[in-house]
């Protein structure tokens, strides 16, 4: 992080409100202590995020004195972009990828921190810590810069940028363990609680915004929590009783299902994360 702050003109930290973002922000606080974090946090708001996430975001960032920038692809939303009408692929393209690229271009950011980890998904395993993006924000997995030792090549031309992944080598367990050790605040939705849910097959869909119900479906109260946080229509919950960090860790080791399984977008087509990444998604 210090390397990035020292070598780039306009760095920014992508802040998704999730647990990985919380860890990343704590690392930034530590890296620049006793100074303040010398770059802003950027949240790409799709307007489909959970209310609890937005409340947490505003409280957390003001408490640590960070500069928060919220970007919304208002035009797409005004044009009626939503996941129910467009399908998740197109919705993500407009409200996340497009919106992110617009926000980065608008801020003229030449480096953007992201909380992605290599253990999350297969295409992310080959991601560099410094991931080069061309002036269209696109990733070319076959043409990545070799990355040796911790000597990072930070050279970019105007309009090009680098995505930086400080948590590359962390696993999900490492993240939780760190949250536990450091007592890092996270969105309460990670903890189990009785919540109204639509039960659709194996998936639990939180009742929020205007989720179109299939015939015969109606919300019921379920003891559950979120393993990862996305937009409310695309993030399923898991049945869980874990209401503390150690209980979550314990559950994680027992429930051997990878955390992105409940994220609908990874499964909408074979190799889908790689396609989104090539286009500029994190």
């Amino acid at each position: 992080m210090r390397e990035v702050a020292a070598e780039f003109q306009r760095p920014v930290m992508l802040y998704s409100i999730g647990k990985d973002s919380s860890v990343m922000v704590r690392l930034a606080q530590k890296a620049f202590y006793p100074g303040k974090i010398p770059f802003p946090l950027l949240h790409i708001d799709t307007t489909y995020k959970f209310r609890e996430m937005i409340e947490f975001r505003d409280k957390f960032t003001s408490e640590i004195g960070a500069r928060l920038i919220v970007h919304i692809n208002q035009k797409a939303i005004d044009d009626g972009a939503n996941p129910f009408r467009l399908g998740t692929q197109k919705c993500c393209g407009l409200l996340k990828t497009r919106s992110l690229l617009d926000a980065l271009a608008e801020g003229m950011y030449d480096a953007a921190f992201g909380g992605a980890r290599r253990d999350e998904e297969k295409s992310r395993a080959k991601e560099r810590v410094y991931s080069f993006r061309d002036s269209f924000g696109q990733w070319d997995p076959k043409n990545q810069r070799p990355e040796l030792w911790n000597l990072f090549n930070s050279r970019v031309d105007k309009g090009e940028s680098i995505r930086v992944f400080p948590l590359s080598n962390w696993t999900e367990l490492d993240v939780w363990q760190y949250i536990h050790l450091e007592n890092i605040p996270i969105v309460p939705m990670y903890f189990a609680k009785l919540r109204p849910m639509v039960v659709r097959g194996e998936t639990l869909i939180p009742v929020e915004q205007d989720i179109p119900l299939l015939t015969g479906e109606k919300p019921e109260m379920v003891m559950c929590r979120m393993r990862s946080l996305g937009c409310s229509p695309c993030t399923g919950a898991i049945r869980s009783e874990a209401d503390t960090v150690p209980k979550i860790i314990e559950e994680m080791m027992l429930v051997r299902r990878s955390e992105r399984e409940n994220r609908v977008i990874d499964h909408d087509q074979e190799g889908s994360m790689e396609i989104k990444k090539r286009e500029g998604y994190f």
Binding site: R2, E3, A5, A6, Q29, K30, A31, F32, Y33, P34, G35, K36, R118, D119, E121, K122, S123, R124, A125, K126, P141, K142, Q144, R145, P146, E147, L148, W149, N150, L151, F152, N153, R155, V156, D157, S168, N169, T171, L173, Q177, H180, L181, P246, K247, I249, E250, M253, L254, R256, R257, S258, E261, E270, G271, E274
Partner: protein, 579 residues
């Protein structure tokens, strides 16, 4: 196999404590195409329960590689679509798994020859390398290349897994043959510990647990070995190195220098010297978010405050005053060239070393290493995936130690300032020959004040510096001097006392010196070669050259052209200073 995931849930806090204290082993894998490397890693992840159930379920859906068994483990690791299409791994993939004893990060690097650069990338951060050999094919050139690169990047622990033993009926003779073949090559390399394990990645023999099918093999299974191997991380390099990354100055009362400790340890009260200014001070405190520390050591990232107001900025280095690193603009290094465009001596590049970035050029390619035979070959340039010894000259002094002593202050990368591509990985072997004598003689005087680089001298002279050893034919020496002079070369004939020092000084000044000694004198010849360096030395035996002095001189000129010391086309005489 008991794993973290199956632990009883009773005492989660003590599990967390244990997990926190587990050490981390970073390893890289290498093998040729179809050695079954991805299958082996998939097997390690699967059998150690690191692969989650739903990921495995999705592999079951996608299994296409018909040569693999019931479950294609390679698909757990071969992430990218283009790879699936080609059926080979083309980029470094990082994998994570953990057992109750250790956490592991695997850099899964490609076996395909053209992706050797990724192999070096994976090896640069690894403590141990697994080299896969296909029992059916034995040791291939790629196996040797991988071993060489692993040792070059400082990996001391090598595990050779002889795979596909199931296809060779688990034959001890086959295993012994491959082992002997491998050892034959390996003895030439600086390996700390070399281990051979016969396995079948596909069937799981000797991967996680020992196999019944290899009763003749008494050693541990691969995972058992990885869990217990002692990795010598400390290379007994105790001298503190702290490259400054960032100056933290939130208010007038606080001025801290942020960085990652690259070697040794720092304590409050320690005397430190700042490079390049040479100013000294003492460590006042080591500040962190969690409070001041009483000691910091690698790989901790900390912020150091000094007692005195000393000017320090990014790129500077804090070191112990009694044990500073080398500080020089010129040094010798081994390069792994990673770009399609070949290395061009004299061309402006950028070097990134610790927290410094500066203009730099490769002033000479001393030799290329033939990775099959380890022989040194005289070449002008290095091509894609080639490895060689070079002299590098930076525009600013760098503060370095030899890579074999300390990776963090011995490693660098070269960047193309036009395309911004990373061109090469470099490992510093030592200060350049002429910077090894900081005091006294002519050579040191010339170079230490040097604002003119060898590359500039080369451009001005139009030829490379050279000490040409020519024994027993004074007439030929002067004929050759005339011919070279007429072609525009800066040349002179040396004879008699002090020939070693004069040849070195002349070479540093960019001249061609003809060492015309009355008779062969091996001791002096070797001394000249040592002084000027191999790339600036050429011995010509008059016995091999036919004809009169004139014809012989022409023959030598052609040799110099062929070796690239002088340009092929005679250039017009421009009145450059002769000596």
């Amino acid at each position: 196999m008991a794993t973290a995931l199956e632990r009883p849930s009773a005492d989660i806090e003590s599990f967390l404590k244990q997990n926190e204290e587990k050490d981390l082993l970073r390893l890289s894998t290498a093998g040729s195409v179809d050695d079954g490397k991805s299958t082996l890693i998939g097997r390690l992840l699967y059998d150690s329960k690191g692969a989650y159930e739903d990921q495995i379920a999705s592999v079951r859906k996608a299994s296409t590689n018909q040569t693999a068994g019931p479950l294609d483990f390679a698909l757990l690791t071969d992430g990218l679509r283009s790879e699936r299409e080609q059926g080979i791994t083309i980029d470094v993939a990082y994998r994570y798994f953990s057992t109750p004893k250790r956490k592991f990060i695997i850099a899964d690097t490609p076996g395909h020859e053209q992706y050797t650069r990724n192999m070096a990338t994976g090896a640069s951060t690894a403590d141990l390398a697994i080299i896969l050999v296909d029992a059916r094919n034995g040791v291939l050139p790629q196996s040797r290349r991988h071993l060489y690169i692993a040792t070059l990047l400082g990996i001391r622990h090598i595990v050779v897994t002889i795979n596909k033993m199931d296809l060779m009926d688990f034959s001890e003779a086959v295993y012994n043959e491959v082992r002997a073949d491998f050892l034959n090559f390996a003895t030439q390399l600086p390996i700390g510990e070399l281990k051979f394990i016969p396995i079948s990645a596909l069937a799981g023999d000797n991967v996680v647990t020992g196999s019944q099918k290899t009763p003749w093999y008494a050693g541990p299974a691969l995972l058992e070995y990885l869990e217990t191997v002692e990795v010598a991380r400390d290379r007994a390099f105790d001298y503190m190195r702290f490259p400054v990354q960032y100056v933290i100055r939130p208010n007038l009362d606080f001025r801290g220098f942020a960085g990652q400790v690259a070697a040794g340890s720092i304590r409050p009260g320690d005397a430190v010297m700042v490079l390049p200014s040479g100013r000294t001070s003492r460590v006042k405190s080591i500040a962190t978010y969690d409070g001041d520390l009483s000691e910091a050591f690698p790989p901790m990232s900390v912020t150091v405050c000094l007692e005195d107001e000393v000017d320090v900025s990014r790129g500077d280095m804090l070191v112990p005053p009694q044990h500073p690193p080398h500080a020089a603009r010129r040094f010798e290094a081994t390069l792994v060239w990673m770009n399609q465009k070949p290395l061009e001596p004299g061309r402006p590049y950028l070097i990134k070393h610790t927290t410094q970035q500066a203009g730099a050029a490769v002033t000479a390619v001393r030799h290329r290493v033939n990775i099959n035979t380890l022989e040194h070959e005289l070449v002008e340039r290095l091509g894609f995936n080639e490895i060689g010894a070079v002299t590098v000259e930076a525009k600013r002094p760098l503060y370095f130690d030899a890579y074999e002593k300390n990776r963090a202050t011995g490693a660098f990368i070269l960047i193309d300032p036009l395309t911004n591509e990373t061109l090469a990985a470099g490992m510093i072997t030592g200060a350049a020959a002429s910077e090894r004598h900081p005091t006294g003689d002519l050579a040191a005087l010339e170079l230490n004040t040097g604002r003119v680089t060898p590359a500039e001298r080369y451009i001005r002279a139009g030829h490379r510096p050279l000490a040409l050893w020519l024994a027993g034919d004074e007439e030929l020496a002067y004929t050759l001097e005339r011919k070279l002079f007429d072609r525009g070369c800066l040349v002179h004939v040396l004879a008699g006392e002090g020939i070693v020092d004069t040849a070195e000084a002349s070479a540093d000044a960019g001249l061609i010196s003809i060492c015309a000694v009355p008779e062969e004198d091996a001791a002096t010849r070797d001394a000249v070669q040592r002084a000027v360096g191999r790339d600036r030395f050429l011995a010509v035996s008059t016995a091999d050259i036919p004809g009169n002095s004139d014809e012989a001189a022409d023959a030598i000129c052609r040799t110099l052209e062929d070796r690239g010391y002088i340009p092929r086309l005679p250039k017009p005489f421009t009145g450059g200073a002769g000596i």
